[in-house]
Amino acid sequence: MPTLPSDDTVPAAPDACDDAPYDLAVVGAGPAGLAAAVAAGRLGLRVALLDSAARTGGQFYRHPAPGLGARRPEALHHAWQAYADRAARLEALVAAGRVDHLAEHHVWAVTGAAGEWSVHAALGPDGADQRRTVRAAKLLLATGAYERQLPFPGWTLPGVVGAGGAQAMLKAGLVLPGQRVVVAGSGPLLLAVAGSLAAAGAEIPAVLEASGYVGYTRRPATLAANPGKLAEGAVHAAALLRHRIPVRTRSAVTEVHGKDRVEAVTVMRLDRDWRPVPGTERRIPCNALAVGHGLVPQLEPATGIGCATRLTPDGTHALVVDDRQRTTVTGVWSAGESGGVGGAELALLEGELAALDIAGRDGRGRTSRARRRDRLRGFADAMAVAHAPRPGWTAWLDDDTDVCRCEEVTAGQVREAVAELGARDARTVKLLTRAGMGWCQGRMCGAAVACLAGGAGDTASRRPLACPVTLEQLAED
């Protein structure tokens, strides 16, 4: 790391002045934001690191609170050391007054311009407490991603949980949604989730992958360039073998059964377009289903200040960043999954690349990191293409399946808006049906509504606020 301070000394604190703007505000303390804040702090910047969570780590390095007394938090992560090192450095930087870790800060908007950003946060575990505005000259958005969901009959029953959600609850709370958990959807995360749930004592009767793994494993060039990814895949495969978990490709859960909670699922084979093959139904008794279809970059608050987005290979939108992690808005950088899904290793790298540019450093440290980043991006894009939802999934829906969980808008209502009322895009469907107008602001139904509306999707549509705030909180401004 030629351009990052390599010893553990920490620069002396500048004159403390509470109201002085920070040099840099980092939103998101996952792998990307944490790596960036640590690198920038060590390069001499005064940094505010904001995250809605109480602890750093983001989705990948999510870990239990101290009260749970976990002596082996690394049991649920690979490459834990990469986190532990940075967490220790962050602690030193915080103690030296270089970095302020502003935990439980839910950023709901950013205003201002380069040189004078105001980052508005709602405080507390659920963002329901007081408000605070943090000022900074530069801004790095490392808001990560959330899980993409596709609806199917029964997906609102208690016991159906996000695959990443089950992983998150396990990593943070050391709990399982049930003892017999089917894992389904698409994407490499499913294998990691099945492995962890099994290691934690759950029985996994099956993992159902709607696509296959051949798309990228058959691309020797991409794989050869990413030996780390091969090793990671081998770890998951070994875990599945050890727990004797069957993995079925080109298969999906097409219905969940149960009155008030999950009792069983129906599994069907899929054709290449993810259309269920008639006559292949099989019922698997279980008490939970962990399901997800890849990840969606978290674009707010970036789009609120005008950062441009691009369509990704798997049909989501991500922030446009250049090879120095700069967004299209002057004075704003993005690192990690807000700029495209690619995993924790890539996020760490991008965080450091952004910090180098923000601190005005260049040179060898940048070029070698940029090369590694491009390799990992290439691999992530190949995986994204292989696991992208195919149009036939809509055949899983019946007319009374809820598409929008919040507003309880059914597939029938959405189809009616499209067929009879002439809606051609997700925005019009939303206005006609309220799909996507509830609490989650379309995070859970956005992908599905866009597909049903027939458009490329407007998951990047500008939302004014990054998270719901109460009228009381707005009135305080």
């Binding site: 009260g67 659920d126 990443g164 089950a166 934690a200 009767p205 069957p246 969980r405 309880e408």
Partner: protein, 111 residues
């Protein structure tokens, strides 16, 4: 079926070699439940085998935690009379009274 027989008694706490501080009590609709320090309200409820603590506004259907990371708002609960708390984010505290939230709880959101 597909489980390694050696693992039958394994729990998440074993996996992480966790020795939590002593459990305390919370209630769901008056029913006492144990919670471990550091667990969210949703995690404590899952640990007790409870998967739903809200009913929806239109159809009165049961819901609980879905995304696990604060983005779906399906896990809303009323905690100590304060409605619309995301149970997956709010830490459980000794004596917390969680009540099943029916419908909106309180519909004064700005967005």
């Amino acid at each position: 079926m597909s489980r390694n027989p050696r693992d039958t008694s394994r729990t998440p706490l074993d996996l992480a070699h966790a020795t939590p501080d002593p459990a305390f009590e919370i209630t769901l609709d008056g029913r006492p439940l144990p919670a471990l320090p550091g667990q969210s309200v949703a995690a404590a409820l899952w640990a007790a085998g409870i998967l739903s603590w809200r009913t929806t506004r239109r159809d009165g259907r049961p819901r609980g935690a879905f995304c696990g990371i604060g983005s779906c708002y399906d896990c809303l609960a009323t905690v100590n009379s304060r409605p619309n708390q995301r149970a997956c984010l709010v830490p459980a505290r000794p004596g917390d009274a969680v009540t099943t939230q029916e419908g909106t709880g309180r519909a004064d959101l700005a967005v």
